[in-house]
């Protein structure tokens, strides 16, 4: 089960939840599981960044998630 943690405003939106463990093989599956558990996050989940084992992805549904992956769901991020 991948360990999923929420960062910043997402954590607050989910009621300051600690670690969530989900059975998922891709980022899309992680987001689906998180959305099921925390419907309050649904409006924002299609815009979040997701860090899998330290690598940050934006809009990347099919990136692989391993059973022992560390997953952080981070707020939408953009540069200049």
């Amino acid at each position: 089960m991948a360990r999923v943690m929420l960062g910043g405003t997402l954590k607050s939106l989910a009621g300051n939840t600690p670690v969530l463990e989900v059975d998922a093989k891709t980022i899309r599956e992680v987001l689906d599981r998180v959305g099921e558990v925390y419907p309050s996050l649904l409006p924002i989940l299609d815009r979040v960044a997701v860090a899998v084992d330290g690598q940050i992805y934006r809009n990347q549904w099919f990136a692989a998630v391993k059973p022992d992956s560390e997953v952080f769901i981070l707020p939408p991020m953009a540069g200049g």
Binding site: M5, G7, G8, T9, K11, S12, L13, A51, D53, G54, Q55, I56, Y57, R58, N59, Q60, F62, A63, E70, F72, L74, P75, M77, A78, G79, G80
Partner: protein, 756 residues
């Protein structure tokens, strides 16, 4: 996607990468042939101008455009009524382009006209009558957060706080990033420093103002020529705001005279299209400098509290930040990025950063290189410097002892892969400037900084011409010399000369979607797509050679720009060069081209350390920067001159941000210094020769090891310069800019304190 298949084919030795050829757009730019945003024209073109609010906050009761419309030469007038209101994520963008029920800041667009001449357009603006009900305003972030502050949006209640607020507020939301136990961490500290800081808003300061030429016909088909960091963003946003099909709007990006993040959104483009649609004529709009300052995005102004504790032997035990960023009249300041980056340079067990996104009666902030990070870094690096002094530890050694490295759990959560912060610190420590003697009134400071770097959606096509030259089409506007880097990467892969590749920025109808040029992404992402497109061409060329020789394609290999039989078993054929295969292409299968589309990720975070020496005149408060040295991790420098240019540009902008640049508002809420005479950006005489050290810790997610370099260099300067100025005058400087009046005030306060 991250590296997969052929992308994983890493290169570590290069023939072209790392060389410094002349930039392909150089001659055009120095001879004036390059065409920027304002250089476009069209037959029958009208001139568009915008009427802007003189009030910081006012209800718009009525707009009467009758007299303006009746003026000879006026062909169209648009107001809020010409833009359909909406209730989605783009509403703030729309309202920022054209005010609806209220003018929310001095300079907010209220109406626009298109006329046959600029003089008539100006006259028409004066004939528009706007009935305003002036409202109380607030421009300071701390004032905006106080109970009783004028409320900009009575429907806004602070998000992410418990209990849910019952009263509206200018605080849009709260965010928090935390690790460990902050209280326990501070209990372990021998020395704690806690300070409050403020920074003023600064503008990106691009020399070219926003400009566009829009032409939208009655059939709903249109074109825009525009200076922008993202012409696909212009297309999609404008099409959405005006109710057009995306396919019917074609956008061409002009050359760009600076962007730095400020040209990643729309301002005048939807207005120009609306005027064109209404008048049936092409409409050209060029902002004045006054408009650029009053109505386009500066960065946030901030108010911050930083607290850091350390043991006497230099191990940080806890770090805490409260960050308050105002993002103008709409939510969306980069405070969350500030909170994530504030302590990213450090390996910390106990850390907490809280951010508040605040709205005020100022223009909507826009991205500015590493948005949100520089202000937080200024505050954090100032406290780190003070702690190092208190425990009598060398500031580089203090940072080295606490530096983030591979395997460190970052303060914003994820664990770092290979990173180069330690290498930048060691490079600075080894540089002669770190030991240069200092004279009276001189001080030395250093600071480190971090930025994420991003990649994103990218699409590239590489066409091979019959003469063996290559036309490379990318969709990412070149804001920092990226065409030269693309030429180098294509040439490296194909084994041909740099001069044989010409890179253009294609229009939106010629190439698939590309994200905006932002996030330090282009050399990484467009470079990755270019490499993959080139590898596709090589594969096709090998197949053509195989057919010519009558052998299997698998029996052909590519070396040094030539197709060769893979071994003696493949046959004895004379190698075919890139040029020979290109010349025969019409008879071997037709045109040769490579294409690649990708949603790239893995741009690789980067770190920099800056070292600065200053001399402060105690009589006038004037600060002269004596020496400036930068060490930054670039992963792999494709064109080292442009990497150094990015480093130096960040330092130059940082010198302005640190010492002079600020938005100054009067009591009436109007911007007092909307021009380069009163808003002082650094000129050549303000900058010393800036020394650069390119650190190369390869990014494992790029075939050459590239990391983004465009933004990290703006993160450390304010901290480095503040530490140098504080050392020079013996007073800790807590506000930016450290302009002469502020320094004189700080020195006077010190003298007064000593006398008391």
């Amino acid at each position: 996607m991250p590296l997969e298949g052929d992308i994983a084919q890493r290169k570590t030795t290069f023939k072209q990468i790392g060389t410094r050829p002349i930039r392909p757009d150089g001659v055009d730019k120095v001879t004036g042939r390059a065409r920027f945003g304002a250089d476009a024209s069209a037959p029958g073109m009208l001139i568009g101008k915008v009427l802007r609010s003189p009030h910081a906050h006012a209800r718009i009761r009525k707009i009467n455009t009758a007299k303006a419309e009746a003026l000879a030469g006026v062909k169209a007038v648009v107001t809020r009524d010409d833009f359909k209101d909406r209730n989605d994520a783009l509403r703030d963008v729309l309202v920022n382009c054209m005010a609806r029920d209220k003018a929310l800041y001095d300079g907010h667009a209220v109406a626009a006209v298109a006329a046959t001449t600029a003089a008539i357009a100006d006259k028409a603006l004066k004939l528009i009558v706007v009935d305003y009900e002036v409202l109380p305003h607030v421009t300071d972030v701390d004032e905006a957060m106080k109970p009783g502050a004028p409320i900009l949006d009575k429907t806004m209640f602070t998000n992410n706080v418990e209990p849910k607020p019952t009263k509206p507020s200018n605080v849009a939301s709260r965010c928090e990033f935390a690790l460990g136990d902050i209280k326990a961490g501070f209990a372990k500290a021998d020395v704690v420093v806690e300070r409050s800081f403020k920074t003023e808003a600064t503008h990106q300061g691009y020399i070219e103002p926003h400009a566009c030429l829009a032409n939208l016909g009655p059939d709903g088909q249109g074109e825009i020529w525009v200076c922008t960091q993202g012409h696909y963003m212009i297309r999609n946003t404008c099409a959405d705001l005006l109710g057009l099909d995306i396919s019917k709007l074609r956008v061409t990006a002009s050359e760009i005279g600076g962007g730095f993040g400020g040209k990643t959104t729309v301002f005048i483009e939807p207005v120009a299209l609306a005027l064109s649609r209404k008048s049936g004529r092409p409409v050209k709009m060029v902002m004045t400098r006054n408009e650029v300052f009053r109505a386009t995005g500066p960065t946030s102004s901030t108010s911050m509290r930083i607290k850091v504790g350390t043991t006497r032997d230099g191990r940080i035990t806890a770090a805490e930040a409260d960050l308050r960023y105002q993002g103008g009249a709409f939510p969306g300041s980069p405070v969350e990025l500030g909170a994530m980056t504030a302590f990213a340079c450090y390996d910390l067990e106990n850390v907490k950063a809280v951010g508040y996104d605040v709205i005020t009666n100022r223009p909507k902030q826009a991205a500015y290189r590493a948005p949100g990070a520089p202000m937080a870094a200024f505050a954090v690096e100032s406290v780190i410097d003070e702690l190092a002094k208190k425990i009598r530890m060398d500031p580089v050694d203090f940072r080295l002892k606490n530096a983030a490295k591979q395997g460190t759990k970052s303060a914003y959560g994820p664990t770092f892969g290979p990173i180069g912060l330690i290498q930048t610190l060691e490079a600075i420590k080894a540089h002669p400037n770190y030991r240069a003697p200092l004279g009276p009134n001189q001080g030395r400071g250093l600071a480190s900084g971090f930025w994420f770097n991003f990649a994103g959606q990218t699409c590239t096509t590489l066409n091979v011409n019959l003469d063996g030259t290559v036309a490379l089409a990318v969709g990412t506007p070149d804001i920092g010399g990226s065409r030269a880097s693309m030429c180098l990467m294509a040439a490296e892969e194909l084994g041909i000369g740099y001069e044989q590749v010409r890179t253009i920025v294609a229009d939106t109808s010629s190439l698939g979607y590309n994200d905006v040029t932002d996030g330090s992404r282009v050399t990484f992402a467009s470079g990755l797509a270019t490499i993959m497109a080139a590898r596709e061409v090589i594969k096709k060329m090998c197949a053509r050679a195989a057919k010519t020789w009558g052998i299997s394609a698998d029996a052909v290999t590519w070396e040094d720009g030539q197709a060769k039989p893979a071994g003696s078993n493949a046959g004895n054929f004379k190698p075919m060069s890139f040029k020979e295969i290109a010349a025969a292409s019409h008879s071997t299968g037709g045109p040769l081209a490579g294409h690649h589309e990708i949603n790239a990720d893995g741009a690789g975070v980067s770190f920099a350390t800056h070292l600065c020496d200053v001399e402060v005149d105690p009589e006038t408060g004037y600060t002269r920067v004596l020496r400036y040295t930068i060490a930054q991790d670039a992963g792999k420098a494709i064109h080292p001159s442009y990497v150094e240019g990015q480093f130096q540009g960040g330092a130059a902008q940082g010198i302005g941000w640190a010492l002079n640049e600020e938005y100054i508002y009067g009591k009436d809420g109007r911007l007092q210094n909307a021009g380069f005479l009163d808003y002082r950006i650094p000129v050549a005489s303000d900058c010393p020769m800036i020394d650069t050290i390119i650190v190369e810790v390869a990014n494992p997610k790029h075939p050459y090891g590239v990391r983004g370099v465009g933004e990290t260099s703006i993160v450390p300067p304010m901290g480095a310069i503040a530490n140098a100025v504080s050392a020079a005058i013996g007073v800790r400087m807590l506000e930016l800019p450290m302009s002469p009046p502020r320094i004189v005030h700080a020195l006077d306060s010190r003298l007064k304190k000593a006398a008391d």
